[in-house]
Structures are given as structure tokens and as C-alpha cells.
């Protein structure tokens, strides 16, 4: 399109500790162009965004704007240079008005040095009108949807007269209608000559909006060019870089008897009509967009969140009380989404964390026995090749190793079934494949596994069956051959319910019900 890039990253290197995250990345953003950055989780996209936002400094390499080298040491510096970033979860002051959020720390002043609220509201009102959004500048941010909060962030960027707008997975939590509006806004900004970078996992969206695509893998750019040079298959091939089977070693297992059966789970305003079964040896993927209610369903099955109605049974035993104690006694293990907050006691050693679920077993005369602790912990930590010292506090372990400790903790209870929520989020590629190998092996040895994941290649590679949720409802059940990225995305955005209906009418021959 245009010749001179608005901003250009040149040969950027970045490491965190011993982990190299970016290796020689060069990326130009051109004015009036939407440039999509794609890659698997952990490919280095977020780090790249943070360098442009002024949150990280590159170890090596340069950021150039208008041909000159710039150095952003803070977000404020980046913003004043004309680079604005819109994150997936906007960071706003929920108690303050939209206009105040836009102008915080740089409010227009009257002659007497007071804040000029009228001017502030006028400016924001103008932007809201231009973007075609029916919000009022005096409205509090509290209660706005994520989509509307992103609009507030976009207006903030506009008041900075942003030349570069970076959107980091902005559509992950949006409904279809909201995505459409965001794209209209994006196109308007593009027409004004703003250079836009769009980070997304959704191929359909990327092809709908971009003029240029760059694909990253393992910290490097593996392909970049105008949209016309790309096909969906090509993008996926570049992103994954190897065949799915090699990366996701799910072994084929013939499913046995039903372990978990849930019927008509409902929680008002969160999810409803959730019914499914999981069999021995099966990994069932639970896919959907952020906010679709997947984690909530898992938490309700495990008894942490309340249920308004519905039945959960394990091995034919109906769980009546819906408490975590009951669920554990019945043989359910739950590896939560947020390792650091919900899965681990960060200051304790790996050994101690791994045996927290089985405290009675490690006691001798009512006191915790270090020796027994170590014995029990070692059974699983060794099998998972837990690197690092198991006697060190878990907060110094890498994300992958932390996840192994959480898994070990639940495996020590010898569960019949395991619910894992985002098992490989924030985990490096090596540890990721080990987590996958472990899950696969567990399934082979007869465990039933429910795996919630937003990482589509992971779901497709690991799951024997994929359930897809959209806004609190199950919208599809896909068998392994049916489960393509497109099919899952189609259901996750709520575009059809036909599949699940056809599936039910087919009457699964193995079904025992």
C-alpha cells in the first residue's frame, strides 16, 4: 500500500531469564492498513505488543517511527508518540465516567485551572457519535460490556491522536454483533490513515479485516505478506509448523463405561441445558470463547459454584450436595484455570503442594511426615519429569513446572476423572507437550478427562470429542474427525445449533442410556 511504515520493529530480541521469547523479529506497520499478527499461544505475540506499548524494553533491536529510532520506557511515552494499545480485557476505572476515563491524568482545564468537564464531555461525545456508538460520556464505566469498554479505550487512543493502534485479541470476549461493530470502527480508523495491528486467533476475522498477515512461531516470524498471498491452510501450516499428531500425542483409546454424567445443569444467567457424558479413557474437549461459561460449568460440577438445577453423577452415583468434598470423594479431580490463585500455595514447596489433597495419607501420629510427603509426591512428579527441585517453593518454578505440580496434587488423590481448565496457558512449548503426554497417558490408563481449552489446535489434537459452548449453552458436539478449527469456531460464535441436533438424532450406538 503505502511506502513508508508508520512504525517498524527491526530485528528485535527479548528474553525472560533463560527463556528466549523473541528472536530477530522484524515487523513494519503501514498507514491505512490492518496488519494481522497470528501465532499459537506462546509464539511471542504478546511480548511484541508489550514492547510497542512501552511495557517491556527489547534486549536488542530497534523500534523506528517515521524513520527515526524511538525508545519507549513507559506506556505514557508510547502513547504520546502515538502508539495506543487495546487489550483483550480493558483496563479502566469502573467507578468513573467514560469521559473521565478517556482524559485521566490529562484533563482539559478552564481558564481558572479547574477541570473542564463540559469540554471533556463534548470531546468524548463527538468521538462516540463518529464511531456510531450510543453511549453518553457521563455514563459510568461500571456496567459497560467488554465491547463498550473497548470503545472507551479506542476513544482514548483517538484523543491521543494515535498513529498506531494495536488490538490484542480484541474479539475474544465479544459477541458476533459486537465484533461487527468493532470492525466498522476499525475500518473507519484505517481510512483515516491509522496503522492498525490486529492480534487474533480467529482466521475468519483475520481474513475479513486485514491487508497483511504476519505469522509467528516460537519467537520468530515464519511468514509475512499481503493478504492475497495467504490461504487459511497456509496460515495454519505456518502457525503450527509441524503436523498436529507429533505435537499432540493423544493415543487412541476405546472408551469404556460412562464415568461422568451431567444432566440439564442450569445456573440462571450463566449457563443452561448442559448435558453430557464422559467415558473411561476419553478426553472430552470443552471449547468456546472467553465468557461462554465453560469454567463456570466445570466449577459447578466440582461443587465450588452453585447450581440452580441439574444432576451430576460419577460412576452412577448421584452427587447430591454439590460440594467440593463430595466431588473429591466421588473421584473427581479439578485443575483450575488460574494456577497461582486457585491451584497452588505459591510459597510452599512443590512437594508440600503436591500432597495438600492427601494430607491424611502423609500424617504420622497426627503430624505431617516429611518422608511420606516426599514418597507420595515423587510418584507423580517423577512420572511427569518435573524439572527443578521439588523442595523449592513453587513460585520460582516455570509455568509449565507449576502446572505439573498442580496435576501431581490431583493425581495423588487417585481420581477416576479429571477436569483440567486451560492446562497449558502460559506454558512453554516443551512443557506443553509433556502436559499433553501426561494427559494422554492418564486417559490410556482409564481416566476420564474433561479438558477446557481456548487453544484450538490443542483441543483438536487432544480431544476424542469436542463440546462447544456459546453464551452458556452447548451448541455443538463434534467427533474427532468433525472437529476442525472452523467447525469449532462456527459453533463457538453461536452461528448454528444444527450439528448438535443431528448428532442427537443419530443416536450414538455406544450410548448406554
Amino acid at each position: 500500500m503505502s511506502s513508508e511504515p508508520t512504525i517498524e520493529l527491526v530485528d528485535i530480541y527479548k528474553s525472560f531469564g533463560s527463556t528466549r521469547v523473541l528472536e530477530g523479529v522484524t515487523l513494519p506497520l503501514f498507514p491505512g492498513e490492518v496488519h494481522s499478527l497470528m501465532g499459537e499461544n506462546g509464539a511471542g505475540k504478546s511480548t511484541l505488543v508489550k514492547i510497542m506499548a512501552g511495557l517491556h524494553l527489547a534486549d536488542k533491536g530497534a523500534v523506528r517511527m517515521g524513520g527515526r529510532e524511538v525508545l519507549f520506557r513507559s506506556t505514557a511515552q508510547a502513547q504520546h508518540a502515538g502508539v495506543s494499545v487495546i487489550y483483550q480485557e480493558p483496563t479502566l476505572f469502573r467507578d468513573l465516567s467514560i469521559a473521565e476515563n478517556v482524559f485521566m491524568h490529562r484533563q482539559p482545564k478552564t481558564r481558572y485551572g479547574w477541570i473542564d468537564y463540559a469540554e471533556m464531555n463534548r470531546a468524548v461525545s463527538g468521538h462516540l457519535r463518529q464511531l456510531g456508538v450510543s453511549l453518553r460520556p457521563e455514563d459510568p464505566v461500571l456496567g459497560l460490556s467488554i465491547a463498550d469498554q473497548q470503545i472507551v479505550e479506542i476513544i482514548k487512543a483517538l484523543t491521543f491522536e494515535a498513529k498506531v493502534l494495536i488490538m490484542d485479541e480484541p474479539t475474544a470476549a465479544l459477541s458476533l454483533e459486537e465484533v461487527k461493530r468493532l470492525f466498522e470502527v476499525t475500518q473507519r480508523l484505517r481510512d483515516r490513515g491509522v496503522a492498525i495491528m490486529f492480534v487474533s486467533h480467529r482466521l475468519e476475522e483475520v481474513f475479513a479485516i486485514s491487508q497483511r498477515i504476519t505469522v509467528m512461531r516460537d519467537g520468530q516470524v515464519v511468514g509475512s505478506g499481503p493478504i492475497a498471498e495467504w490461504t487459511t491452510e497456509e496460515v495454519i501450516r505456518k502457525m503450527v509448523g509441524r503436523s498436529l499428531d507429533a505435537l499432540y500425542p493423544k493415543e487412541k483409546v476405546d472408551p469404556g463405561e460412562v464415568i461422568l454424567r451431567v444432566r440439564n445443569l442450569r445456573r440462571a444467567g450463566v449457563f443452561k441445558n448442559i448435558s453430557f457424558e464422559v467415558r473411561r479413557g476419553e478426553i472430552v474437549g470443552l471449547a468456546g470463547l472467553v465468557g461462554a461459561g465453560r469454567s463456570e460449568v466445570a466449577r459447578a460440577i466440582f461443587g465450588i459454584d452453585p447450581l440452580d438445577s441439574g444432576e451430576v453423577s460419577v460412576n452412577g452415583t448421584h452427587l447430591r450436595n454439590h460440594t467440593a468434598q463430595d466431588a473429591m470423594a466421588a473421584g473427581i479431580g479439578f485443575v483450575p484455570e488460574d494456577r497461582q490463585q486457585q491451584g497452588l500455595v505459591m510459597e510452599m514447596t512443590a512437594t508440600r503442594n503436591a500432597t495438600l489433597t492427601v494430607l491424611p495419607q502423609v500424617q504420622r501420629f497426627g503430624f505431617v511426615s516429611r518422608e511420606k510427603e516426599r514418597q507420595i509426591a515423587a510418584q507423580w512428579t517423577e512420572r511427569m519429569r518435573l524439572k527443578g527441585h521439588i523442595d523449592e517453593p513453587v513460585n520460582i518454578l516455570s509455568g509449565g513446572n507449576q502446572q505439573k505440580v498442580v496435576l501431581a496434587k490431583w493425581l495423588a488423590t487417585k481420581p477416576k476423572m479429571l477436569i483440567v481448565d486451560e492446562p497449558t496457558r502460559g506454558v512453554d512449548v516443551g512443557a506443553k507437550s509433556e502436559v499433553h503426554r501426561t494427559l494422554s497417558q492418564l486417559a490410556k490408563n482409564g481416566m476420564a478427562i474433561v479438558m477446557i481449552s481456548s487453544d484450538l489446535p490443542e483441543v483438536i489434537g487432544m480431544a476424542d470429542r469436542v463440546l462447544v459452548m456459546h453464551e452458556g449453552k452447548l451448541t455443538a458436539e463434534l467427533s474427532r474427525p468433525e472437529a476442525t478449527e472452523e467447525a469449532i469456531m462456527f459453533a463457538a460464535t453461536g452461528q448454528t445449533t444444527s450439528r448438535i441436533q443431528s448428532k442427537e438424532s443419530k443416536n450414538n450406538p455406544k450410548s448406554s442410556s
Binding site: 513507559s74 506506556t75 505514557a76 502513547q79 483496563t91 479502566l92 476505572f93 469502573r94 467507578d95 468513573l96 473521565e100 485521566m104 491524568h105 490529562r106 484533563q107 485551572g113 479547574w114 477541570i115 456510531g132 456508538v133 450510543s134 453518553r136 457521563e138 455514563d139 461500571l142 456496567g143 460490556s145 459477541s175 454483533e177 459486537e178 461487527k180 461493530r181 466498522e184 444467567g269 453464551e471 452458556g472
Partner: protein, 339 residues
């Protein structure tokens, strides 16, 4: 998309917004309480009783000004009562040690001393990164302990204090005590500061979302420090006024008043979780609690009930806030499920 261009009906009018505000409900509650008590005992509205009420609420209301800034930032300052105690005694010793010293100098000295003690809190919290609850609990005891050591059983009496200074606590202007005027003027200053200046809005921003405050380029540590400096200086001023009001000061002066101040602020609608509330509401909260305890006195309710009522009021205020937040969340969720 086109339907979104349709202009939405304008929001509620200014009067309606006010009627829904915390301030309006506080004014209403105060009016109801006053009306009930006056019917039962007409002396409640006598000039003397009104003056007592104003004097009683003034020093608490003054401290509420500082505490509002602190709580807006999701912080807390427990040490104010000890600062009041030290600076009250300091003011007295200045009058005794330097006969004829102008009252203005004494007031400024007390305020400066408060500022310095507030600086200790500020440094520990903003740069030492020690939670405010722990820091000010520590300094509450340290300042009080130092005060005991310094006072060493002595006492300041009204005879040691010049009459012109005591007049701050006794004389009136247009029927309102001078002491109350001072608090009212500072109330206006703080209210304007919090509403009309960038720095004021930053206190709200920090309490509302500390991470977003950093991203907006706010120097959060410095802003938090200024809050504790202001709270300290106000407590210092309150110490001088404490002497003017009561005349008598020993080492126990103002002990325990921090809890009443925090209660008033929260009852006045400043959310303990930060980011929400106004200083006018907080002062109305102090007034409500003051009227309430006068009511109990006039109705001959045993005094030990007063504290229980004050506590109940605090819990009620928090319950109302929680209920409103819950209703709001419910409404957003309903909206979400219709998407």
C-alpha cells in the same frame, strides 16, 4: 447498526440524580431523626443544643476530610487519633513555654507537626510498600506511646491557654461556632480539590483501579504519599482545635476517635474498596452519627447503647452498598444474557 445512531433519551435530570445520591438519603435521614427527636423533646432544637451538636461534630468532620482522601485510594489511616493527641499537647506546651505567642503560630506549628507525622506514614506506605492498615496501626501505637513518654503525667488546663484561642471553640459568628466555620471552609476546599483538580481525580483513579492508574501515567506512590501527608496535616490542625474546644489535654486526648472517623466516612458513602464517594457525603455521615448519638441522649437511652448503634449503622451502610453493587451486577448480567 443504524439503530445505534438513534439518539437515546437523555439521562435522568440533575435533580433526579441528586435525589438518588447517597447525600440526599443522608440529609433525609438526618431530617427524620431531628423531626422525631424534636417532637419527643422540643429542647433538641434549642440554640444551645444546636451549638453543642455543631461543636461535637466539627472535629470528627475535620478528620473525616483527610480520611475520605485516604479511603478513596483504598487505603486507611488509623494513626490520626494519636496525631491529634500529640499536636493537642504540643499546642498547649507552646502557649505555656512562650506566653504571648500568636494563636496563628500555634495552629501552624501543630499542622506542621501533623504533616511530619503523616510523612512517616507516607514514606512507609508509598515507598516502603507496607500495607496502610499495618503501618498506621503501628504508628497509632508508636505516636501514642511517644506522647505518653513526653507528657509524663502532666496536663494542660484551660487557665494555661489564652482566652482568644479558646474563643475558637466557644465564640460564634452568625450563630455558628468559629470552629465549625473553619471546618466548613476546609470542606469546601477539599470538595473542590477532589472534584475540580486533576490531582483530586487521581485519588479516585487509584482507588478504582491501581493498575489502570499506572497505565494512565499517574505517579501512584507520590499520589498516595500526598494523601497521608494531607491526612496528617489535617490531624495536626485538629489537635490545635481540640485544645481550643476542650481546654484540658492530657496524654489520653482523642484516644479511640479514629474508629468514629472511619465509621462516619463509610456511612457517608465512601466505599471502603476505594474509588467511590464524596467528601460532602462523608461529612454528612459524621453529622448523622452525631445527631444520632444526641438523639439517644435526649431520649435517655443508656450511653452504652450508643456505641452499639454506631456499629449497627456502619454495618447497615456497608450492607446497603453491597446490595446496590449486587443489584447493579444483576442488571448487567441480565443485559448480557440477552445479547
Amino acid at each position: 447498526m443504524t439503530k445505534e445512531f438513534e439518539s437515546r433519551p437523555n439521562g435522568p435530570g440533575q435533580l433526579k440524580v441528586f435525589m438518588r445520591s447517597r447525600e440526599a438519603s443522608l440529609v433525609l435521614l438526618i431530617a427524620i431523626l431531628t423531626a422525631i427527636t424534636t417532637v419527643l423533646n422540643p429542647r433538641f432544637l434549642s440554640p444551645q443544643s444546636l451549638k453543642d451538636l455543631m461543636l461535637n461534630v466539627s472535629i470528627i468532620a475535620l478528620l473525616v476530610l483527610g480520611q475520605t482522601i485516604i479511603i478513596l485510594m483504598r487505603q486507611i489511616d488509623l494513626s490520626i487519633s494519636s496525631i491529634v493527641g500529640i499536636t493537642a499537647f504540643l499546642s498547649g506546651t507552646l502557649f505555656i513555654g512562650h506566653p504571648g505567642v500568636p494563636s496563628v503560630v500555634v495552629v501552624l506549628a501543630a499542622t506542621l507537626a501533623g504533616l511530619i507525622l503523616g510523612g512517616v506514614n507516607a514514606a512507609l506506605i508509598a515507598w516502603g510498600k507496607i500495607p496502610a492498615l499495618i503501618t498506621t496501626l503501628g504508628t497509632l501505637y508508636i505516636f501514642r506511646g511517644a506522647n505518653y513518654a513526653w507528657v509524663h503525667g502532666r496536663q494542660i488546663n484551660a487557665v494555661n491557654v489564652p482566652g482568644s484561642f479558646l474563643a475558637i471553640g466557644t465564640a460564634t459568628f452568625m450563630g455558628v461556632p468559629i470552629l465549625t466555620w473553619i471546618v466548613l471552609i476546609l470542606l469546601v476546599v477539599v470538595a473542590i480539590g477532589l472534584r475540580q483538580y486533576g490531582a483530586g481525580r487521581e485519588y479516585y483513579a487509584i482507588g478504582s483501579n491501581p493498575n489502570a492508574a499506572v497505565l494512565a501515567g499517574i505517579n501512584v506512590s507520590w499520589r498516595i504519599a500526598t494523601g497521608f501527608l494531607i491526612s496528617g496535616a489535617i490531624a495536626g490542625l485538629a489537635g490545635a482545635l481540640w485544645l481550643a474546644r476542650f481546654g484540658t489535654v492530657d496524654a489520653t486526648a482523642a484516644e479511640g476517635i479514629e474508629l468514629g472517623v472511619i465509621t462516619s466516612t463509610v456511612v457517608g458513602g465512601v466505599a471502603i474498596t476505594g474509588g467511590v464517594g464524596t467528601v460532602v457525603g462523608a461529612v454528612l455521615g459524621a453529622l448523622l452519627l452525631s445527631v444520632f448519638s444526641s438523639t439517644l441522649v435526649f431520649l435517655r437511652v443508656p450511653s452504652f447503647w450508643q456505641q452499639a448503634f454506631q456499629g449497627a449503622m456502619l454495618l447497615l451502610a456497608i450492607a446497603v452498598d453491597a446490595y446496590l453493587a449486587f443489584r447493579h451486577a444483576l442488571r448487567s448480567r441480565v443485559k448480557w444474557s440477552h445479547v
